[in-house]
Amino acid sequence: MAASMRLLLRRVIRLSHRYNNVTAAGVSARSGCCWAPSTCRCFSDVAGDRSTHFGFETVPETEKAKRVYKVFENVAQKYDTMNDVMSLGIHRLWKDMLLHAMHPQPGARLLDVAGGTGDISFRFLEYARSQQERQKRRTARSMQTPSSQDISNNYFTEDEDTPQESRAVVCDINKEMLNVGRKRADSMGISAGLSWVVGNAEELPFDDDQFDIYTIAFGIRNVTHIDQALQEALRVLKPGGRFMCLEFSKVTNPVLARIYDAYSFQMIPVLGEVIAGDWKSYQYLVESIRKFPDQEEFKYMIEDAGFYCVKYNNLTGGVVALHSGFKL
């Protein structure tokens, strides 16, 4: 008798939890709107005021994008240095592994979303270039004793080589990150086949069926609506196109998990403070990793969006997972 009463009470409490979450978001939005010039939020009460996570904090969904923008605006200048220091250079290996798994053919079109400082796109263009050179060398070797017919054929095929050029589009919501990426590209002398576009992963400024490969490296956990980003990825890919995602994930080994947690929460904000002068941004970064779904759950999300043959590989014991899916 008492037990069933307790059960009933627990249900009542759970219901009131949920009710309070909704009203809480409503109240905070209402108080927020008193300071902000925009008044439309005052009138939308429960409808537009869902909350989401920003690291371990809970914020209204509309605010998350702004705060993420601020984080990356603050860290953009020191982003690459911090990546090297925090991952002890291993992030380069992860990105190389992404490229190896991708194995792009010459002439492929890449969309690198949340590409920021351009790491993936630069590697893509280098890879495509080295592939092309390898092909040229191979044809040169096989053509060492050409007949006159072969020589005349060569004159015609030379023109066909230019459409085979690979192109990469770097798309990022943050202008600071793109600026840093462009400066890097200029200093590295990479400009052919590279373009920089400001855009939101949830609403890409591209037509349907445009790209052969869509990558998003260490960016999808910052997106407010991951399912929308996956839908957009499906839309802009050509049939047969490949979706590839590198992201921090759950470490499988328990010993490594503890070391990783200690390192993330103790070391990384300190490094952020000392090198970039920004503790809070790096605190957000390590917290956002914990809030991101694990490998299996993310795989289901990708399948839900409509991708086929979804697989994932764990890199460095699960610290990073490489997910891949195809649009058929």
């Binding site: 307790r6 103790q266 300190v270 002068g277």
Partner: protein, 286 residues
């Protein structure tokens, strides 16, 4: 009968817990609402002042993190002396004992006790610059204004305290930072390297903060030989001597003493006037 009493008691318990939980949510909401205001109105933008701290801007750190911060910020500050934020972090991570000492000194002094209670802050918004400019030459307020103009500095450039894990000690640290410029005026030292090192020697002797001691030891490494000679023969010993014998400089309510003559204030604090006039124009040569 007993069972129904039991049920009522359990229901009361749950109701109480529910009420408490709702009440807590309310506080969280209110603080978050205040947070939203502060986030919108603060100039730095991404400072979530109420997120889990003892005072606005407070960040919890473990001992290991403090140690790493101390080492890291020390290296960063040596590598690039223009990183004032690193010097500040070094001070906060290493200054716990010295801050307790300073706070106790302030508590034992009646004026210092008033400061700890009233918590004044020295910012451009709290200073009445026009009134200070109208004060006679030789008054503390007028000389301070002259110092700010000659050296092209502002009292608003002091970083906020973040890593001190006690609210009162954090205020003592903040007060120390804000009083630094006033010390320059009192000691008659400009903001060039030589002047800064002299003030650091004074502060090291006065406060015992490890960051001041480190600055006092490493600062001279960047001075030219002629200035080093000046430092070691006259300025240095004067600064150390006065640091030891002067009254606790944090215990003075400077905001109420703008009209006081600077000589008078020096005598009250037991500070000798500087043995050598160090000019601000020397900044170009250092």
């Amino acid at each position: 009968m007993r069972i129904s009493v039991h049920i009522i008691a359990t229901m009361w318990l749950y109701a109480g817990r529910l009420f408490q939980w709702l009440h807590q949510r309310q506080y969280v909401l209110i603080s978050k609402a205040v947070c939203a205001h502060q986030v919108h109105s603060s100039s730095t933008g991404f400072t979530d002042s109420c997120y889990n701290g003892l005072y606005p801007g407070h960040i919890h750190t473990t001992h290991i993190q403090k140690a790493m911060l101390a080492v890291g910020s020390g290296v960063a500050a040596l590598h690039d002396p223009y990183r004032h934020d690193m010097v500040a972090v070094l001070g906060e991570a290493t200054g716990h004992l010295a801050l307790i000492n300073l706070r106790d000194k302030m508590r034992n002094d009646p004026e210092g006790y008033t400061i700890l209670k009233e918590r004044p802050r020295i910012r451009l918004s709290t200073l009445d610059l026009s009134e200070m400019a109208s004060l006679p030459d030789g008054s503390f307020g007028r000389e301070y204004l002259r110092f700010l103009e000659d050296n092209d500095v502002t009292p608003d450039s002091r970083a906020d305290v973040r890593f001190v894990d006690d609210e009162e000690l954090a205020y003592v640290m903040q007060r120390y930072r804000e009083v630094h410029d006033l010390l320059h005026t009192l000691l008659g030292m400009p903001t060039n390297m030589l002047g800064e090192v002299a003030v650091k020697w004074f502060e090291a002797a006065q406060t015992g903060l490890p960051m001041c001691a480190l600055g006092a030891v490493l600062g001279p490494l960047r001075l030219s030989t002629s200035r080093l000679k000046l430092l070691f023969t006259s300025l240095g010993p004067w600064a150390l001597r006065n640091g030891h014998r002067a009254r606790c400089v944090l215990s003075i309510f400077y905001e109420r003493r703008w009209a006081q003559s600077i000589e008078d204030l020096r005598q009250e604090l037991n500070i000798e006037p500087p043995p050598v006039i160090v000019r601000a124009t020397e900044k170009r040569n250092t």
